[in-house]
């Protein structure tokens, strides 16, 4: 007649095909069963064969108990290495299927993400263009206003003053806003290029590296 520890040990050993947290959860549950029952013997009488219980849990987890048991017999001595190679094998196949899936998805959604990229690029160019236009306009108003102002000052002083003033205001605005604006534009350009490059890199190279 086995005792509680033997029961739990057989249960745990029969569940090696499961991930550790699944296995621990099952063992914890049945350990609690023993704690609640009046005696270990009564609990074992009621629960029956731990191998049967393990089979039921394996089936529920989508694992064929027959092949799982074969493995656990082979693994009596070197449990971990074989189990690990088995899991890394499945990981590898699932990774390569993932890569194929990713390629198919990228190919199928081509019209979709090309549109998104085009829209993003247009917005990016538009923002730069607006900034550029502001700078150029401001510069033109400044130069023309000051030059025209100086000339008109001697022929018709009031208009000359207005023109000169407008030119100076534009020049002031230009120096006040231009330097930060150009800096921001530069940063924005660098950031956009970096993000795009990183995103594309991750899309195409990460999976190959992890395989």
């Amino acid at each position: 007649m086995m005792n509680k520890l033997q029961f739990l040990k057989i249960l745990e050993d029969s569940l090696t095909a499961l991930p550790k947290d699944e296995r621990d959860s099952a063992v914890k549950y049945y350990e609690e069963f023993f704690d609640e029952a009046d005696s270990d013997e009564k609990a074992i009488d009621n629960l029956g064969d731990p191998r049967k219980i393990a089979e039921q849990i394996l089936v529920e987890n989508g694992i064929n108990p027959v092949t799982a048991n074969e493995n656990s017999f082979k693994n009596i001595e070197p449990v971990k290495p074989v189990a690990q190679s088995a899991t890394s094998n499945t990981a590898r196949t699932s990774n390569s299927t993932n890569l194929i899936l990713a390629i198919i998805v990228v190919a199928l959604t081509f019209p979709f993400w090309v549109t998104i990229l085009a829209v993003a690029f247009s917005i990016f160019v538009a923002i730069l263009a607006v900034a550029f236009t502001l700078v150029v306009t401001m510069g033109a108003v400044a130069v023309c206003g000051i030059l025209a102002g100086i000339v008109t000052l001697f022929t018709f002083p009031p208009i000359g003053l207005i023109s000169l003033g407008t030119g100076l205001v534009a020049a002031g605005m230009l120096t006040l806003f231009c330097v930060p604006l150009i800096k921001t534009c530069w940063k924005f350009t660098v950031w956009t290029v970096n993000t795009t490059v990183n995103f594309v890199k991750r899309l195409f190279f990460k999976q190959e590296v992890s395989v």
């Binding site: 914890k28 549950y29 069963f33 039921q56």
Partner: protein
């Protein structure tokens, strides 16, 4: 009992028991066994599945120097339970009409 127990019915009954009051695996098993003939090991896969489907949550509570794992119904579990209750009512009525109402005609 002559009628086989379906896993859907087990899910529904477990949810109902836990919904009444947070409780632990052994107690749930005993409660179910009062109503139907299931083995002591039937409930673990059911509880685990309900947990994975986020119908049940667990928490550990100390009891006499050891931990008892208590089960608690989530909002998703409550919704599932309500559906099960409605489905059961319909199912029961249909079976009753077939099985019991016809029986009365014999007498």
């Amino acid at each position: 009992m002559a009628f086989p127990v379906s896993s859907t019915l087990l899910d529904a009954m477990v949810l109902s028991i836990v919904h009444d009051e947070d409780t632990y695996g052994y107690k749930i098993t005993q409660d179910i066994r009062e109503a139907m003939d299931v083995s002591e090991s039937t409930l673990y896969p059911v509880l685990r599945r309900l947990q994975k489907e986020e119908c049940l949550e667990t928490y550990d509570k100390e009891y006499m120097g050891r931990n008892r794992r208590y089960y608690k119904v989530t909002s998703k579990g409550k919704a599932a339970l309500n559906l099960y209750r409605e489905d059961w009512k319909l199912h029961k009525e249909k079976v009753d009409t077939l099985l019991n109402e016809r029986g009365k005609n014999d007498e």
